[in-house]
């Protein structure tokens, strides 16, 4: 009798275990971008974004754990200054050079984490590692907005939100132009991702 009860409990538990399994989401590159903001001459804030990124994240809502990996194509940096006019080069071309993102030598920057903290049922903070210019340093991103639902037209499960954090670029060896061009960089990532 005891054996039958155990077997029944095991059978009933299988679907529960299945729903508790980690879910993996692929980042939609068309609706996911990394933005940055940096002080310029102590006067204003210059903003830019990386037009190409990819990656995925996993969520285990039952265990309240998760992981994330975002790969950003540094050559896709854009601050909106892409017309030379009378100048030999644009700001975006300068940002791609060895002075800043050094895209020929370091074509990618990555953000990885296996430490997603939850607040209730939603992820609230990510303790991760940013790798930029070959240097890896910790970077915490606070998740300011998070939603999971079915895509309204495609009816496919999706999650998305906005996260941001700050780091000093000199910690990564990007020293050119400091302090005229600020050291502290605010990075914001907006992500939409579809369940695999």
């Amino acid at each position: 009798m005891n054996n039958h009860a155990s077997f029944a409990a095991l059978v009933l538990a299988i679907p529960l275990a299945a729903t508790a399994a980690p879910e993996t989401y692929d980042i939609d590159p068309i609706h996911s971008f990394a933005y940055f903001a940096i002080d310029h001459l102590g006067v204003s804030t210059v903003r830019g974004r990386f037009d190409k990124s990819s990656g995925k994240f996993t969520l285990d809502r039952a265990a309240k754990t998760g992981s994330v990996e975002v790969v950003i194509d540094t050559a896709s940096v854009s601050t909106g200054d892409n017309v030379k006019g009378a100048r030999p080069r644009t700001r975006d071309e300068h940002l791609r050079s060895a002075d800043f993102f050094n895209v020929a030598e370091f074509p990618q920057m990555t953000y990885k984490s296996a430490a997603v903290k939850f607040n209730g049922d939603a992820p609230a903070e990510i303790d991760g590692q940013l790798t930029l210019l070959g240097v890896t340093r910790p970077l915490t991103l606070k998740i300011e907005r998070w939603t999971c639902k079915d895509h309204p037209m495609r009816k496919k499960p999706m999650c998305g939100g906005d996260a941001s954090g700050t780091f000093k670029r000199t910690d990564f060896g990007m020293k050119y132009g400091v302090p005229a061009i600020g050291d502290e960089v605010k990075i914001s990532i907006n992500i939409e991702a579809y369940k695999q």
């Binding site: 030999p88 080069r89 002075d99 020929a104 030598e105 070959g134 240097v135 050119y176």
Partner: protein
């Protein structure tokens, strides 16, 4: 003072020129005036503040090699008289070292393209070193070549979108100018030596290659700088003051440098 030293023109031109001048004058009795170029260049590196051993990027490896070149030059100056063969051997050595500097960039290219770039880097460095070495006994022509190569690589890099490499190149040119000022004032007593010609040839060509690989200086513009060691060999007037010789030699050196800049400008207009 801090603001003054933070100005890019001070970092890349004023300080390297003064350091080059002082080092050339102070080390003249020791026959080490040729260290003026590396002293001025490293002064700029320190002031610009981009150097670190933490991650050895191509530009940081370049600084290391630029620092090592004059040490080898001093050994060459004092241990043996650099001959034509020494120029070829040192050219091959520094050509290979150039591949080490840019290795991380080269291996990320498609194979054939990466191979072409590698051959280009090695050939430009090797040629310029070999062509500059015979000038070790001629401080006027060697110093003038330093001005032409440094200004060409530096301003070319700025036109190619890298202010950092540009500042490094201009600093090399300014430091060579400091050396040349001492030659102009004191005559040919100031020795160039292998320490000067190696610093100039290795650093300037690596900077030009860096501006090509890490920014957008066209290859043709970098290659034009290879003509500087030939241009400074053009005849100088006999029995004139070293100052007049230096001015004419600098003019010769600036012709290929101007060609480099014209090609860099044309490429930027064409969208390349």
């Amino acid at each position: 003072m801090q603001d003054f030293l933070a100005h890019p023109a001070v970092q890349a031109a004023v300080v390297p020129l003064l350091v080059g001048l002082v080092v050339a004058a102070v080390l003249l009795p020791l026959r080490l005036s040729g260290l003026a170029a590396v002293a001025g260049f490293l002064a700029a590196v320190v002031l610009i503040g981009n150097f670190s051993f933490a991650t050895l990027t191509a530009t940081r490896k370049l600084v290391l090699l630029a620092s090592a070149a004059p040490l080898l030059g001093v050994i060459a100056d004092f241990a043996f008289k650099p001959a034509r063969l020494a120029g070829l051997v040192l050219g091959v050595i520094f050509g290979a070292a150039g591949l080490w500097v840019f290795w991380a960039v080269l291996v990320q290219q498609p194979f054939v393209h990466g191979l072409r770039l590698a051959v280009g880097v090695a050939a430009l460095v090797a040629w310029t070193v070999a062509a500059m070495m015979p000038l070790h006994g001629d401080p006027v022509r060697a110093g003038a070549a330093g001005v032409g190569l440094g200004i060409g690589a530096g301003v070319g890099a700025v036109l190619g979108a890298s202010a950092l490499i540009g500042q490094y190149g201009i600093a090399l040119g300014a430091a060579s100018g400091g050396f040349l000022l001492v030659v102009m004032l004191l005559g040919r007593r100031a020795r160039a030596g292998a320490s000067l010609v190696l610093t100039i040839s290795v650093t300037a060509t690596l900077l030009a290659c860096a501006a090509t690989l890490l920014a957008q200086l066209p290859w043709t513009a970098a290659a034009a700088l290879g003509l500087v060691p030939l241009a400074v060999r053009l005849p100088l007037p006999d029995r004139t003051h070293a100052g007049i010789e230096a001015v004419i030699a600098v003019f010769y050196a600036l012709v290929p440098a101007a060609g480099c800049l014209a090609l860099a400008w044309a490429a930027s207009r064409a969208g390349g």
